[in-house]
Amino acid sequence: MAISRRDILKSLTATAVTGSVLRVIRLEAAEYAHRMIKAEKAAADTQAYTPKFFSPHAYKTLQSLCGTIIPADDEAKGAVEAGAPEFIDLLTSENSEYQLSLGGGLMWVDNTCIDRYGKPYLDCAADQQKEMLDSIAYRKNAKKDPSLGQGIEFFSFLRELTADGFFTSEIGIEYLGYIGNTFVSEFPGCPPVPET
């Protein structure tokens, strides 16, 4: 019988662990538990995702926007690979305010693209998409053109959620260089801080 994650975690909480030998077992068990969690996740990740809230078209637009906000580059993959669209869809499916601001916001983007270019965002040429996003990616643009206000609000919120989705993913955490969430027997303190 395989050892379950629960068994491993239980061994971590065994009471009155004070000897150094037991301490080593505790650390190994912790690492083993982490590997098991990863393996469980990997097995579950193979299936295609069906959006819970967004229509297929809206979800494709969402994916495109997430990928543009935080794209893949030569250092790391981007927000789409990091699961940001799934994360945003899940939250939106549970929150009527998000449904308005994100669902409505995506429609606003399509409506505005149709007004400007005669087609929805995804069908626009790359330079048209860029022009669209450049107009709603900065608050100051609303001062010149108040009709951009709703689009700017939407994009600002989507940018935050995309950052959430990316930087809380395994890809994003590795990209930032966070090192921790481990068991160490002594805190090493600070490496030398460079002078200003």
Binding site: R6, V17, I37, T68, I173, Y175, I179, N181, F183
Partner: protein, 569 residues
């Protein structure tokens, strides 16, 4: 409906299992008394219910909670179970013109499962404020009365720190502190330049194995609850020894409704709602310790009206619910460019600050009375939802430039949180709302709140101090973003710092206080209130350590009374 009666009469019934209730249960059972411990929430299993060592990506909501509701604020998904600003079916009300927020935990151990583990002793002057500056009231006890109990609590639970001989921050019995993080070395250097005290913090986290509990493993996640019990929680440290005596009866899912008084003006029973069955039950005991958290304890007393006690139990003075205090809170931050060049390294440490700023201007005249301490933290922590909101809003744009900016700025921020002493005022109190009940039929609380000028001046001083520190460290100051007409200098709403105390205060005279120095009700000799409700003032010291010390003291007094046969039939 039939009222179910448990025939057994316990020596003591303790209501609430947090810092106060857990301590009482331990001391009383170890002293030989039988104890029934009532908890409104469920029990839990740490390895199942704590999210220690879970990554954000292990959770579908990444820590943001259902619908993203935990994206902001304290009640995110990682937090130890059942602590929240709002509990479904258990409302509270802020009176018109007031805003008060009430963080409650319905779980064995209460808020000790998620607290900051900051364990500070009150100083000698903190107990005698009126004698010192003429405002508020003195406690009926002095530092010398409480010091032996601080010793007992610290020796038992384990607190790290260093001996510093600072008058505003008495030393305790300390385990060695952990080494400073980079953020802490930077702030310390700046404070030294400005002659501001910055010393190792004092947290109830084990840096060495202690009383059978293993030392901290430095994952920085104390707020999630600790599976190895290397930090202090009542559920893992106070209640197990009480259970071991065989004299503890734990009753979970028990929402205390009313204390029932006999003809002799003593409490004979507590009526509670068994949440699982929604039935009314009673526990009989010879003495009662109310430790349900400051406002919940006041609520229980105010809801315990009888012909003998028409204004609520132990409330002949009218002070129950009054004298409500929180800490003065104001936050600010800084961006420190030197941290951009730090190599990636493990910055986790314990779940809290390794250093802090005790009150340092105790030796001069200030624009305000009393003092504050400062908590600070930041740097290369585990990324979480909401972390990039501010940067996204400031940098704007999108694409590779945004992505690189986030990486460049990761770990370069330090936040400062002032926690100061509020002087009680007549506009801050809680009372029973005339209309609202909770889902158990128990009348709910209504809060009234207004900061006075002294607190606002203190918040101003906090903002100025943090600007000076950040700039002395070569950083860029980021003032509190929460400043508006209702929040001058970023002062937090009442209750937000979760240090609410004072609602059933102790005192020498029965006309102006509800309890004597042993937390025993003046009006009802077998009734004790030992949580933060008994506080006379709310020093700039997080209340938990003092709650435990006062409870330990009250419990020993109760044991002594029991031995003398004064506990009642």
């Amino acid at each position: 409906m039939q009222v179910k009666r448990t025939p057994k009469t316990y020596d003591v019934c303790v209501i609430g299992s947090g810092a106060a209730g857990g301590t009482a249960a331990k001391v009383l059972t170890e002293g030989g008394l039988s104890v029934a411990l009532l908890e409104a929430g469920p029990s839990f299993i740490p390895e199942r219910d704590y999210k220690e060592h879970v990554w954000p990506y292990d959770l579908p909501h990444r820590g943001a909670g259902v619908g993203g509701h935990g994206r902001h604020g304290f009640d995110n998904e990682f937090l130890a179970p059942n602590g929240a600003w709002e509990i479904e079916g258990e409302p509270y009300v802020s009176a018109p013109g007031s805003k008060f927020r009430w963080f409650r935990s319905r779980i064995v151990g209460g808020r000790t499962n998620h607290w900051g583990r900051i364990a500070l002793r009150m100083s000698a002057v903190d107990f005698k404020v009126r004698s010192h500056d003429g405002m508020g009231d003195d406690w009926p006890i002095s530092y010398e009365d409480v010091a032996p109990y601080y010793d007992k609590v610290e020796s038992y639970i384990g607190v790290f720190g260093t001996k510093e001989n600072i008058p505003s921050a008495p030393d305790g019995i300390f385990l060695p502190p952990p080494k400073p993080r980079c953020t802490e070395t930077i702030v310390k250097k700046a404070c030294d330049k400005l002659s501001i005290l910055c010393v190792p913090s004092r947290l109830a986290i084990l840096t060495k194995p202690h009383n059978g509990r293993p030392a901290c493993h430095y994952c920085a996640q104390c707020g999630r609850g600790c599976m190895t019990a290397s930090n202090f929680s009542s559920s893992q440290v106070m209640i197990p020894p009480a259970e071991k005596t065989g004299r503890l009866t734990m009753i979970t899912g028990a929402m205390a409704r009313e204390l029932v008084v006999g003809k002799d003006s003593k409490v004979t029973a507590v009526s509670y709602i068994d949440k699982a069955t929604r039935e009314e039950r009673r526990i009989h005991a010879r003495a009662f310790i109310v430790a349900a958290s400051s406002c919940e304890s006041a609520r229980l007393l105010l809801n315990s009206r009888s012909s003998l006690f028409p204004d609520g139990l132990a409330n002949s003075s009218g002070v129950v619910g009054r004298n409500l205090m929180d800490s003065v809170g104001s936050d600010a931050g800084g961006y420190f460019p030197q941290l951009e060049r730090m190599p990636a390294h493990n910055h986790d440490g314990v779940g809290g600050m390794h250093m802090y700023l005790p009150w340092w201007k105790f030796d001069r005249k200030n624009d305000f009375l009393r003092g504050y301490h400062t908590e600070f933290g930041g740097g290369r922590g585990m990324p979480g939802v909401g972390d990039y909101d501010d940067l996204c809003d400031e940098f704007e744009g999108y694409g590779p430039a945004l992505k690189r900016e986030c990486k460049k700025k990761y770990g370069t921020y330090i936040g400062f949180a002032g926690r100061g002493e509020m002087i009680p005022n007549e506009n801050c109190y809680c009372e029973i709302d005339p209309k609202v009940v909770d889902q158990w039929g128990i009348p709910a609380l209504r809060f009234h709140w207004k900061w006075s000028d002294n607190e606002i001046k203190m918040a101003k001083d906090m903002q100025e101090t943090y600007r000076a520190i950040v700039e002395a460290a070569g950083g860029v100051f980021i003032p509190s973003g929460d400043q508006d007409a209702a929040h001058p200098y970023g002062i937090a709403d009442g209750g937000v710092i979760i240090h609410e105390v004072g609602t059933v205060r102790m005192g020498e005279r029965s006309g102006t206080s509800a309890l004597n120095q042993y937390c025993q009700a003046h009006d009802v000799k077998n009734l004790f209130v030992t949580d933060g409700a008994c506080f006379v003032t709310n020093a700039d010291k997080n209340p938990t350590l003092t709650i435990m010390a006062l409870t330990w003291r009250a419990s020993e007094y109760l044991l002594d009374q029991a031995k003398k046969g004064n506990l009642g039939a």
